[in-house]
Amino acid sequence: QSFTDECLETAWPPNPTRSITTYVVDLDEPAHQRWASIAAMYKVQIKDLVDYIKVFVLKISPKLQFLIDLVDTKLPEMADTFPSPYGDEIKGISEASGINLGEVVLYNVFYEIFTL
């Protein structure tokens, strides 16, 4: 297989099955409620992503179990330090999805972690 640069002229229109669904988040609702329906709808996919990260870290080294433990024990406290409305929104997502608060916090600070 070879990789070559290209400049396509036929990619448009994209297949309609690739369209992204649009939802509404009402900022007039309390912060901890505004993501509830979306979080409940996507809880399996969110959990799948976070679980993958945990497994990936342990594949690097089982000695990194302490990092996984920190996600469950220390990261939940971090939600209280986020500026409004983000901390409450993240707590609401955790409640609506049933996913551990520390895991939802981890997901929301992905960018800061992975810029290394």
Binding site: Q1, S2, F3, T4, D5, E6, C7, L8, E9, T10, A11, W12, P13, P14, R18, S19, I20, T21, T22, Y23, V24, V25, D26, L27, D28, W35, I38, A39, M41, Y42, Q45, I46, D48, L49, Y52, I53, F56, K59, K74, M78, T81, F82, P83, Y86, E89, I90, I93, S97, I99, V104, Y107, N108, V109, F110, Y111, E112, I113, F114, T115, L116
Partner: protein, 253 residues
């Protein structure tokens, strides 16, 4: 990631991006894919944030993620953020935050949402994102509805290392990937040159959603890390996005 701001020959402004994420976070040898990218794709959604019954801003984001990576405030400005790597990466800011050493800094994607919620002009958005202290380095790419309103802000944690405006050297488009754009791109990941060639092939007379989508769908701008393409039209505030998948043969990044 690849972000493009372009102005057509009539001064109409467009902004688009490919979101690439998951590098080195697990290669699936069975399917030749990045495992994390595959996990992200089912989470993509567009969100219209409303206030008092009106759409305040629109985003393409991931379910469960409250920050913003791609967004548009209709009639005001659009914004995308590209990852900027560095040894002095965001984990240092994160440690400072967790241990309460310094909380006078913003999370990169929260700052974008703050700005979409509060800034009323392109200029005020640029000002805010140039000066706000951040936990991590990044590239902010903004466009406004008026001709010439395009900018790349290269951010370190404390300040802007570089601000490049559309129109410099008579340019009608700006392209930003994951490297400082004033330096030569690395040989192992040069998406700027192919994207530039492709934009020049279409020309300022053909800046449209179809042409931009074609550029974003061309390898290596499209690669194994690409999870979605978002397109924004500044004059209408229209945002549309599509999940992307790069069929083999395809560059891994």
């Amino acid at each position: 990631c690849t972000s493009i701001v372009a102005q057509d020959e009539n001064g109409k402004m467009y902004h688009g991006r490919n979101l690439d994420f998951g590098l080195l976070l697990g290669w699936d040898f069975a399917n030749d894919t990045w495992a994390l990218s595959e996990k992200l794709r089912p989470l993509i959604l567009q969100v219209n944030f409303t206030q008092n019954g009106q759409v305040l801003y629109k985003t393409t984001t991931f379910a469960g993620y409250v920050g913003i990576i791609t967004g548009i405030k209709p009639n005001h400005f659009s914004i995308t953020m590209n990852e900027r790597y560095g040894i002095q990466g965001g984990y240092i800011g994160l440690i400072e935050w967790i241990f309460n050493i310094n909380r006078q800094q913003s999370f990169v994607t929260f700052a974008m949402r703050d700005m979409l919620a509060t800034a009323d002009t392109f200029a005020s958005a640029v000002e805010y994102l140039s000066k706000t202290p951040l936990l991590a380095p990044c590239y902010y790419i903004l466009a406004g509805p008026e001709a010439g309103q395009g900018v790349i802000i290269t951010r370190s944690r404390k300040n802007a290392d570089n601000i490049t405006l559309l129109g410099k050297d008579n340019s009608w488009f700006l392209i930003q990937t994951n490297y400082d754009h004033w330096k030569k791109p690395p040989f192992y990941d040069d998406r700027v040159t192919p994207a530039t060639n492709c934009m020049n092939k279409y020309g300022a007379q053909n800046v449209t959603f179809p042409s931009l989508f074609n550029v974003f769908s061309s390898r290596p701008v499209l690669n194994k890390l690409t999870v979605y393409t978002a397109l924004m039209e500044l004059s209408t505030g229209h945002l549309e996005s599509y999940w992307q998948y790069c069929e083999d043969p395809c560059f891994p990044w």
